[in-house]
Assembly symmetry: C2
Amino acid sequence: MIKKRIYSPGPVDVSPYTSLEMAKPIMHHRTKEFEAVVADVVQGLKYVFQTEGDVLVFASSGTGAMEGAVVNTLNPGDKAICVVGGKFGERWSQLVSRFGGVPVDITVQWGQAVDPKVIAAKLDADPSIKAVYLQASETSTGVAHPVKAVADIVRKRKDTLLVVDGITAVGVMNMPTDEWGLDIVVGGSQKAWRLPPGLAFASVSAKAWGFVERCKQPRYYFDWAKEKKNLAKNTTAYTPAVSLMVGLAQVLGEIRAEGLDSLFARSASYAQAFRAAMKALGMDLFAPGSPSDSITAVLAPEGIDSGAIVKHLAAKYGITIAGGQDHAKGKIFRVSHMGYLDALDMVPAVAAVEMTLKELGHPVDLGAGVRAAQEVLVGA
Amino acid sequence: MIKKRIYSPGPVDVSPYTSLEMAKPIMHHRTKEFEAVVADVVQGLKYVFQTEGDVLVFASSGTGAMEGAVVNTLNPGDKAICVVGGKFGERWSQLVSRFGGVPVDITVQWGQAVDPKVIAAKLDADPSIKAVYLQASETSTGVAHPVKAVADIVRKRKDTLLVVDGITAVGVMNMPTDEWGLDIVVGGSQKAWRLPPGLAFASVSAKAWGFVERCKQPRYYFDWAKEKKNLAKNTTAYTPAVSLMVGLAQVLGEIRAEGLDSLFARSASYAQAFRAAMKALGMDLFAPGSPSDSITAVLAPEGIDSGAIVKHLAAKYGITIAGGQDHAKGKIFRVSHMGYLDALDMVPAVAAVEMTLKELGHPVDLGAGVRAAQEVLVGA
């Protein structure tokens, strides 16, 4: 018997309680019963996004909400800073240019965080820049970008929006939307929400709604103003992903019962434990300076392809993690700390990495990583 | 105890076998295991769409695939005939104009089918028309439009595409994509596929791919060429709705085991049985001339608001059907014959309508509708 254990940066493990909730008989979406689900979802999303503003929900992957952020706020010809330090930063830049905007890329070396001063300098040099797009947590590199510092710069400028891809950040790391003044924050169900993929979220500030009103970009499925009108009546513009919405209402109930402080503290301790474990094994982190708490990227040892580590973990131990993408391919492996996980779930992950490294010929002091993780977790 | 029974035109009932399949532990989408699911899904979709061409799959509602049909094939300024005889026909027209096209609306009275000659005349009068958009089954009225006759007209014109909303038709009524020469056919998971909502499909002919190549409309999440490239490698461009895809593979297996002929014959017999039942009760059908086999729209008796029938069925009998939309509101109720249904499921539906009508003060010969339905089903 080999159990399946998933530590990928999405999809993440789904609780069997949630899976069974979603397996209940389907309900029609134009009923009082489903309106109550939508009402719960909207309140719960506002809680997790820490906003009194709007949070919209879509039947799509996270990329759909990223596209929505662009087509609802950016006019053709508008310039927008895109922080490009990984695969998802590249996606912002692609989206901006695909819809006729002019991306002003700030290229950051993979594994490093953006320097907010560079953003400030660009904005000072060109006040016509209409938006700053970045990732809170760049899933491809395991970097947490300094969202608060960037927000402090952008918030003062009434003609510039801050758009944050929070797909692997919201619900993991503290990122108070209203307090920091984040205009748009995007999320996806298969991350901290510990649901299957298929739902995307976007918070929208009052300042962002002003941009939406002035935006001439054509849009229909991702028409945010239309979705807002419908959500106000506890319904959705188009047929919602009913079963996922039911699961979302259930998970949001669990999250509210636990409280955000506990959720953030737990996520941080899992990430710290895993990082400590890797260091104890003599491994180097890919993003040591500004690591995300949702995902840890680790450099494979010299002479071992990270893909071989990923494959061995899957084949021998039933563990799903992720390798590197694009030019990090073969170089890093990525382990997530999101989803239906508790502290003890870090132990088999670390143990399996230790055993895999040893089996692939890398010298490992078996148990050293596990002990280091325990030392973090025992104090958490 | 009141059991929930759903006869709405989507979402439809989901088999518990499918629900439990979707409740299995989540798998990562970049794995051999999930590639096998995608391969199954692609083959199964081609079977149901009856095409050797491409069938794409998206994490979205059906409207997302409708938008995709427009943004991948229609250039701004292009004229397109839209058959507008219901709420979903209106959606085609809105989509065309929203993305800069020029809708040439053919307005058809709600409850009636389009006359193909009118389409031929419009195309003859203006050969610059680039597309014809229509519904195979107009869900808001219960009308089946004459898709084959329209296809016979459009197929000959190399500069005009036929785009069919098959959301409540594919998998219910015989509509052989390749044989009839349908360029784009759109589907949605919460209909004949008897899954929760959250997946949309689109078949794309070789002729349609030519239009895609020449289409300058910006697109990203619904970029069909990108999706085609990924599907060829048994993957998807963006994170797929994994659990729904797993359910889809399971349902497609059931459909292939049953065979399309049986599926179409069953659906037709359920619809015929329900129509016969309504006639036996002295009720008038809203679309007597060209009824869809996926959904029957029935005129409420004089003096009874159809909304009251819908509400009574839900409150007293746990049955979900749909009322009328827009100007059919209060006038019609709609009962679907799609989903996880068998012949005997028609009996409680008819019985509950009989009892509801009686309880709302309409004279009814209880059992007369049930008997009429049985007479159809016994010979089926």
